[in-house]
């Protein structure tokens, strides 16, 4: 055996070297979305890993509705509360669960604000209620760990079209992108430095439907319940359990969306009550008016994405709620939120001029 020790060492070195090169090539081959993309999923998660450990008090979670509605800079500017938005485009509740699990390895949030849109039927062609591309984009940005492997395992368990190994060896999924590589695929190191918006997505259109009307008590009484998708509900249960285990207060929200059925509101209200958690529905006339939302002006489209002004109102409302009702105190002088004030201010001004 001893005479082969040198060979074994050479094999180990070769495997490490090859693995290192393969990982770089695979990273280049994988699609990535940075700050210059409308939905900068990669920047959101790569930025999250660069936040100082245990500095974030509030995590926003959910689909693009959450990503475009909760602006950590506004939350900080208004009440000094430190937050990060780990919501992303098409975030299945399964992905929400695993990203929350990953996030609490690095941070100790006191609150998680979860947008509930994906609990109901959104993409019935896909077992995860979202497209494969969105699921991949979010999980591919996660560092390699048992959390990621468990996430990949669960994804493949429910979606047979996906392969577990492709989450480890991304070339299985993305190698054919070699014909369409662009400069940004090679410039990822620089692009990953831009996470100033901390997961928030800026949208600037003002095209809310003029016929939108928030719901009121009479709407809720006159209708029943719409069941959540069983798999999505299962992962919501897991989120609830995870929050309980880590002393995190979970707050369910629904951002404004045209034709939000009262049946869904009722289901979420019932679920929140059963689990002893809070639910704030921005489609409810009370919350809608308290937050100062004007659907026509504050929405970027009618699919539930608010613009920068709508996000400003919702972020300030949630921050106020956390500060006043939940006793979460903020403070000044937190470097990673202070440093981005000017950046955001420039963006805000640019949006005002548009």
């Amino acid at each position: 055996m001893r005479k082969h020790a040198g060979f074994a060492i050479r094999v180990a070195c070769f495997v490490l070297l090859t693995g290192f090169i393969v990982s770089i090539v695979n990273y280049i081959l994988s699609p990535k979305k940075y700050y210059d993309d409308e939905w900068p999923t990669t920047a959101t998660y790569k930025g999250f890993y660069q936040m100082q450990k245990d500095t974030i008090d509030v995590l926003f979670l959910g689909s693009s509705h959450a990503a475009s509605s909760f602006n950590p800079q506004e939350v900080y500017n208004s009440y000094g509360i430190k937050s990060y938005n780990i919501g992303c485009e098409g975030q299945s509740v399964l992905v929400s669960y695993y990203w929350l699990k990953e996030a609490i390895k690095y941070q100790s949030p006191k609150f998680v604000v979860f947008d509930t849109f994906m609990l109901f039927d959104h993409n019935d062609d896909n077992p995860l209620n979202s497209s494969e591309a969105c699921t991949r984009m979010a999980i591919d940005a996660m560092n390699m760990s048992t959390v990621k492997l468990n996430a990949a395992n669960d994804i493949c368990k429910y979606d047979n079209s996906q392969s577990f190994y492709s989450y480890i060896f991304k070339n299985i999924r993305f190698h054919s992108r070699w014909t369409m590589l662009k400069e940004q695929d090679f410039n990822y190191k620089n692009l990953e430095k831009h996470y100033e918006l901390k997961g928030y997505t800026v949208l600037t259109h003002r095209i809310g439907n003029p016929y939108y009307e928030p719901n009121s008590e009479s709407d809720y009484v006159s209708c029943g319940y719409e069941e959540m998708l069983p798999l999505m509900e299962m992962y919501l249960d897991k989120i609830v359990d995870l929050c309980n285990e880590n002393n995190i207060s979970l707050i369910l929200v629904k951002t404004p969306i045209y034709k939000w059925e009262s049946e869904r509101h009722n289901t979420l209200e019932r679920y929140a009550s059963e689990k002893g958690i809070y639910f704030y529905d921005f489609n409810d006339i009370q919350v809608y008016e308290d937050s100062g939302l004007v659907y026509l002006d504050d929405m970027s489209d009618n699919d539930g994405h608010s613009n920068i002004w709508g996000a400003q109102k919702m972020s300030t409302y949630i921050a106020g709620l956390l500060y006043n009702s939940f006793g979460l105190t903020g403070g000044d002088g937190y470097e990673q939120w202070m440093d981005t004030m000017e950046y955001y201010s420039n963006i805000y001004e640019a949006c005002m001029k548009e």
């Binding site: 082969h4 060979f7 050479r10 070769f14 070297l17 090859t18 090169i21 393969v22 090539v25 081959l29 392969s163 190994y165 492709s166 060896f169 070339n171 299985i172 999924r173 993305f174 190698h175 054919s176 070699w178 014909t179």
Partner: protein, 468 residues
């Protein structure tokens, strides 16, 4: 796809570690367990049929030496029939297919016949016999081993041999290259044209037919190289199945180079017992025709396989009968037997003769295949815009992918030429300095990984010969 799957290589690594940890005399047990795990992991059905075949042939092997005359003949016949019944059941009935049945049927038959002729001693240990019949790196697609060549190697156990292991690694890389960068990439165009004929006609059929020959060759060569590569890691040598077949200068030459383990099996256990070339020219041609017809039947139950076999026999017979005339024509054209131009012309003609046969092999059925061959000549014309996004780049591979395919086929041609000159590329690489050879390995791995045709968006291609 099993032999290029991650799970398969995890099994290989586990078996390798255990193999070299076990005492020398017990290493065969690891291989046997590896075979069982392979079957359980990748192919859970059909094993009772395989097991019965093993037990019956083992028993036949044990009793044969003690029998005499007609009883001995009868037992051999019963043994062969018992082994053939499941194979016939699968090919012509609806039996559940055990893994690699076409290959192990021939392997087991040759074992019983060799015992019958006293060429080998029968195996007394059924576990060892089971190991011989089910050696996992070559179970599904061969090469078809002979007991005298393989069994000893499997049973005796091997010291770890660095050079052999590295060579095995080179073979595995080469196998992946052949499968993913050539065979499965070519398959995209081949499938598009064959599945949509007569939408595609003329030059497209020429392109797809030529590519299919290359696809079939590289696909099958890939599984042979992977079998040889993995076996070498255990210190075991598996026989070669190909010797640069597309450098053949005649159909006869081609059959010396193509699927060698099947060709030699048919020669030894069918052609020669039929009389071979010992009983005059006419009998020889009849024997040749029977042998190729059986080869066709072995490939499948459809008439097209029979036709393909017959075509091979006709090629050879006509080739032999016209050899003199062709020699005279070449001489008239000023090309002697050493002429490079003559060799090239003969290679091109042989390639296309083989390709016409393989076109029928690949086509939906015989009629369709004949229609396609007719179309190749009737509708042959150069189409404007052939090299555009409306031309061949619309067949499923964009121009960059086609360029990769052409380069890869060129590399294959260079390697085949080197082998023709008895040069081993893997030996040359292994003898290079460490940084250079590591560089070559890594570049090859990355190239296969990036440029190969596999994964999401592609319908993964099973090894073609795994289906026979």
């Amino acid at each position: 796809m099993i032999y290029i799957s991650i799970n398969y290589y995890l099994l290989v690594i586990a078996a390798l570690v255990l193999y070299y940890l076990f005492p020398m005399g017990k290493r065969w047990i690891v291989l046997l367990v590896g075979n069982i795990c392979f079957y359980l992991l990748f192919y859970k059905t059909g094993w009772p049929i395989f097991l019965v075949t093993i037990v019956v042939s083992f028993a036949v092997g044990i009793v044969l030496p003690s029998l005499k005359d007609k009883v001995r003949d009868a037992i051999l016949a019963i043994g062969i029939i018992a082994v053939l019944i499941p194979w016939l059941g699968v090919k012509y009935g609806s039996w559940i297919v055990p893994m690699g049945i076409s290959f192990y049927t021939l392997q087991i038959t040759s074992y019983m016949v060799d015992v019958y002729h006293g060429k080998i001693e029968p195996e007394k240990n059924i576990a060892k016999y089971m190991l011989f019949t089910s050696f996992f790196p070559q179970l599904i697609q061969g090469p078809i081993p002979r007991y005298s060549q393989l069994a000893g190697q499997l049973m005796e156990g091997h010291e770890f041999d660095e050079r052999k292991a590295v060579k095995g690694f080179c073979y595995i890389i080469w196998g992946f290259f052949l499968k993913l960068v050539i065979a499965d990439k070519a398959a995209v165009i081949v499938d598009e044209v064959f599945d949509n004929f007569p939408t595609y006609t003329g030059i497209y059929v020429w392109l797809a037919a030529g590519l299919y020959s290359i696809q079939l060759y590289t696909d099958f060569l890939a599984c042979t190289k992977l079998a040889q590569g993995v076996s070498k890691l255990f210190g075991i040598e598996v026989i070669d199945n190909f010797a640069s077949p597309f450098l053949a200068v005649s159909i006869k030459d081609y059959w010396r180079r193509w699927h060698i383990s099947l060709s030699t099996w048919l020669r030894d256990y069918l052609y020669i017992p039929l009389g071979g070339n010992r009983k005059g020219k006419v009998r020889r041609y009849i024997n040749l025709a029977i042998t190729f017809l059986i080869s066709g039947i072995w490939h499948g139950s459809q008439i097209k396989y029979l036709a393909w076999g017959l075509i091979q026999a006709v090629y050879q017979i006509v080739g032999e009968l016209t050899e003199g005339i062709r020699d005279r024509i070449y001489k008239c054209l000023g090309m002697d037997s050493n002429s490079k131009v003559r060799k090239t012309i003969k290679r091109i003609i042989t390639f296309w003769l083989v390709t016409f046969g393989l076109l029928i092999f690949r086509a939906q059925n015989l009629i369709w295949g004949l229609e396609m061959i007719k179309d190749m000549f009737v509708n042959f014309k150069v189409i404007p815009g052939l090299l555009s996004d409306e031309g061949i780049f619309a067949l499923g591979l964009e121009w960059k992918e086609i360029l990769v395919l052409i380069l890869a086929i060129y590399i294959l041609w260079l390697v085949d030429k080197a082998h023709e000159c008895k040069m081993s590329i893997s030996d040359r690489v292994i003898d290079m300095k460490l940084p250079v050879r590591w560089g070559i390995y890594i570049v090859a791995i990355i190239a296969i990984m990036v440029l190969g045709t596999y994964g999401y968006g592609y319908s993964a291609q099973d090894f073609i010969y795994g289906g026979f």
